[in-house]
């Protein structure tokens, strides 16, 4: 163990980042008092499932459920951290109590960015959001989704599959910023084939007029629907750290092991870590897992722990298509087809980078992910 005694570890956040950090602390040999604080009343669950299987699966309400935890931590659920005193090593909670720590993991994630304060603007971020949306879809309301990223498109896909008439509002073509033009084109075609209406605009806002909420585009076009959703990015939950000096540009910058100082780690959606493109947040499931593993080991073993090294893994399911990608997105230009051919059918693709490495993508194509990862390495 590095330096001082390590009897008490507090993990603030009970998403996959906090959960993985707690598990990894145990694997790394920490057998002291472990406390996990989660602001939701639910046990940790799979967030990616919320906009995929959970929206689509008929009566199956379990696609987000993770197995019971084995870390033996004291779990404080439905409790929110409100402050942090780095000098006294205390976390303040909204129930008025404080938690002392020797090591601390910051894993409070992020929340949906909103375009208004109107209650009619629905977002999908947590389990309660997903369950509420599911029940709203049962009556097949007309839907407007503002936001053409992967989540907005998954939500639109789920609403279409539920039998709703759906309009998606996007700044430029959907998915182009996240996936690049080649793949975005494949998904947009599939979405249009399934009946999605896509409206491109520079900007959209929510407003209430005559008691009814609606979406107004920059050219004045008004979109009305029974269900108004937005999916316009996420905002890290860093307010409770405001007095600590740990927050920069809305996120918590960390070193290559996920540490902000020797006794404090930050992992998951709120952490900006070193990548080939500079300090970045990569708010993905697999990213949270890898960050949490590296940081938990660093809390226990210090500089002897290996730094974070991983290739981001991203997947999406929408409009009947299934995409798995390893490497940094978006993907510019045209790929090499390792198998399959252009046109949107099943294919294995590779986008070469200048240094010989590449990004690998499977579209409707079952492939061992280790093979996808190998495809990202430099070719001799």
């Amino acid at each position: 163990m590095s330096g001082r005694t390590m009897d008490r570890v507090v993990v603030v956040g009970n998403g996959i980042a906090g959960l993985t950090a707690a598990d990894t602390l145990r694997e790394a040999g920490f057998d002291g008092e472990l406390t996990v604080v989660g602001d939701e009343p639910h046990p940790a669950y799979s967030r990616p499932a919320l906009s995929k299987a959970l929206l689509l699966d008929g009566d199956d309400m379990t696609s987000h459920e993770l197995p019971p935890t084995g870390h033996g931590a004291k779990e404080l659920l439905g409790v929110r951290a409100t402050g942090l005193d780095l000098d006294r090593r205390l976390v303040a909670l909204d129930d008025g109590t404080t938690l002392p720590y020797d090591r601390l993991v910051l894993a409070t994630g992020s929340r949906a960015r909103r375009l208004s304060d109107l209650p009619e603007e629905i977002t999908l971020r947590g389990l309660d959001d997903a369950l509420a949306l599911r029940s709203r879809l049962a009556s097949r309301p007309s839907v407007v989704v503002v936001g053409g990223g992967p989540l907005g498109m998954e939500i639109a896909s789920g609403c279409l599959a539920a039998g709703c008439r759906v309009t998606l509002v996007s700044q430029g073509p959907p998915l182009i910023l996240q996936l690049g033009a080649h793949l975005a084109d494949v998904f947009v075609k599939a979405a249009l084939d399934r009946g999605l209406t896509i409206v491109e605009t520079e900007a959209a806002r929510f407003e209430r007029r005559g008691g009814e909420a609606r979406v107004v585009l920059d050219d004045g076009t008004v979109l009305e629907a029974e269900l108004l959703l937005s999916s316009v990015g996420d905002v890290p939950n860093t307010e409770w750290l405001a007095d600590t000096g740990l927050v920069a540009r809305g996120a918590v910058p960390v070193d290559s092991r996920g540490l902000v100082r020797p006794e404090v780690a930050a992992v998951g959606d709120l952490a900006a870590f070193p990548t080939p493109q500079g300090l970045r947040r990569i708010p993905l499931w697999s990213s949270a897992i890898e960050q949490a593993k590296a940081a938990a080991r660093a809390l226990v073993h210090g500089d002897d722990a290996p730094p974070l090294r991983f290739q981001p893994y991203f997947w999406t399911e929408q409009f009947g298509l299934n995409l798995k990608a390893v490497g940094h997105l978006p993907l510019e230009g045209e790929p090499t087809y390792v198998d399959g051919e252009p046109g949107g059918g099943p294919a294995l693709m590779r986008w070469p980078h200048a240094d010989g490495t590449g990004a690998a993508v499977a579209l409707d194509y079952r492939v061992p992910i280790p093979r996808l990862r190998r495809m990202t390495r430099a070719v001799a």
């Binding site: 996959i16 499932a49 696609s63 993770l66 935890t69 492939v367 061992p368 280790p370």
Partner: protein
């Protein structure tokens, strides 16, 4: 303890293999193969770690 795979749910993300390569792997077709189903002790912990990173909840250990 026994590892149980809900095959229709499995989407082949392979995060379980990364967590527990001693116990499971994706075959050439991207289908998950459990190399061991009965696990005890440290292997059971490993199997649980694999189950917990599965984003589609396709693995159970019990």
């Amino acid at each position: 303890m026994k590892i149980v795979l809900d095959r229709p749910r499995c989407e082949g993300h392979g995060l379980c293999e990364e967590a527990a390569p001693q116990l499971m792997h994706l075959d050439d077709d991207g289908e998950l193969v459990l190399d061991r189903e009965e696990v005890e002790g440290a292997d059971a912990a490993l199997a649980n770690a694999a189950a917990r990173v599965c984003p589609v909840a396709a693995l159970r250990v019990g």
